[in-house]
Symmetry: C2
Subunit: 238 residues, 2 copies
Amino acid sequence: MKALIVVAHPEPDSFTLALAAAGRLSLEQQGWEVAVSDLYRMQFKAVLDRDDFTTVSNPDRFNVSLEQRHAWSHQGLAPDVAAEVARLLATDLLILQFPLWWFAAPAILKGWIDRVFLSGVVYGRNAMFERGRLAGKRALICLTTGGPAEAFGPNGLYGEIDDLLRPLHRGVLGFTGMTVLPPFVCHDVPYAGDDARRDMLDRYRAHLNRLDTLEALAMPRLADHLDRLQPSLRRPAG
Amino acid sequence: MKALIVVAHPEPDSFTLALAAAGRLSLEQQGWEVAVSDLYRMQFKAVLDRDDFTTVSNPDRFNVSLEQRHAWSHQGLAPDVAAEVARLLATDLLILQFPLWWFAAPAILKGWIDRVFLSGVVYGRNAMFERGRLAGKRALICLTTGGPAEAFGPNGLYGEIDDLLRPLHRGVLGFTGMTVLPPFVCHDVPYAGDDARRDMLDRYRAHLNRLDTLEALAMPRLADHLDRLQPSLRRPAG
C-alpha cells in the first residue's frame, strides 16, 4: 500500500513538518510505502499556466481543461506536473498536510491541486463523486490552526472547521471519488508548548493507526443528480 | 472613491477578463477611480516565503505572522507586496474577479491574499470582524463557474455557492472588517454563447450600478464572542 503526503509549510522546523514526519514514520511502521511531496522544499510552482505543458492544443486561447486533456493524451505535461500526477495516481492514501491560512490551504498547495488534478484524468463530465477516477483511494487532511478550538466549533467565531474544509473535502477529494477520512486538526498551535505538541503528535499517530476503522465523510452521489444534470452533461465542451 | 479589481485568469481573452473590463468601465462611469491588479499579467508571485521581506526578524525560524509584523514596522516588505498592500489600504471597494477552480480561488489569488493580507495590518488578535482594520471598505466577489446553476443551488451536486464562498466571504473579507456585498456569479460559462455572455455582462454592470442598495452579508461579531475567547486572546504570541 502506497501513501503520499503533500506538505505545505515554509519553515522546515514547523509543527506541520513534525506532523508530516510523524505521519510518515507511523505509516512506514505499519508497512506502507510513503512518498512525501514537500512543496516548499521542492520550490513547487504554484501557478497553473502554459508552462504546465510542452504541448499546445490551441495557441490562440488558453483553456485549462482542454490543454490538460490534450497534454495528457500527447505526453505533454511539464516534468514537475507529470511527476506529481504519477505519484497521485499510484497512491492508495493521500494526506494533505498544511497550516490553515486564511481559512484555506496555502497557495502552494492550492496550486498543487490546480496543476495536478487534471481534467479528464482525475474527473470527467460523467466521472465525479462515486464515479470519479480516483475512486478506491483514501484521503485525509491533517491541519494546524492558529486559533482556539472553540472558535472553530458550533457557533464559533471562525465557523465550524467542517464547513471551512468542505471545498477541499467535497469539492476536491470527494469530487474525484476518493473516500474522505475524518480530518486530524491541531488547534492553537502557535501557543502550544512542548507537552501539548507531543500530545498532538501522539494523537495523530493513533489516528493513523486506526485508519481502517475511521468512518468516511458522507458525500453526494452523482447518480442521485443525473436526471437533473443530464441536459448539462450532454452539452458540447466549451 | 477608489476601487481595486484583483483578477486571476491566465487567458487575456477569457470571460473573466471581460467581466473585469466591464466592471472597470461601469465603475469609472460612476466616477470611481479604478485600479486593476491583473495577477497573471503581473506574473504575481503566489508563494509566501522569506522573499516577501527585505528584513528578517528571526533568522532561525520563519514565523509568517511575526515576519509580516516586523517587516511592516521596519519598511521591510518586498516591493511587489508593498505595492499591493498600499492599493488594498487605499481602496474603498475591493472586487475579487476569478473563475472557480476546484471550488475555490485559483492559487495565484490565494497567494495574493496570503502575501498581502498582513498580520497586524489588516487584522490583529483583538481586531477582527467589526473591529477588523479594513472596516469601512466594501468587498465583492465576481466569479465564473463551469457548472450549471442547479448544481450550485440548494441540494445541488456541488453544494451551495454561498457555502463554497464562505471561507472567502467570512474568513477573509468579513474577518478583516470589510462590508461584504452579495457576489455576482456567472454559471456555465464554458457553454455560454455570445448572447448569454452579453446578458451576463449587462447584469454585472447593473449589479455594480446598484452597489449602494445591495444588502451586505451577515457576519459574526467579535463582541459576541469576547467572553469565550478572552483567555485565548490574552495569550502570549507564539
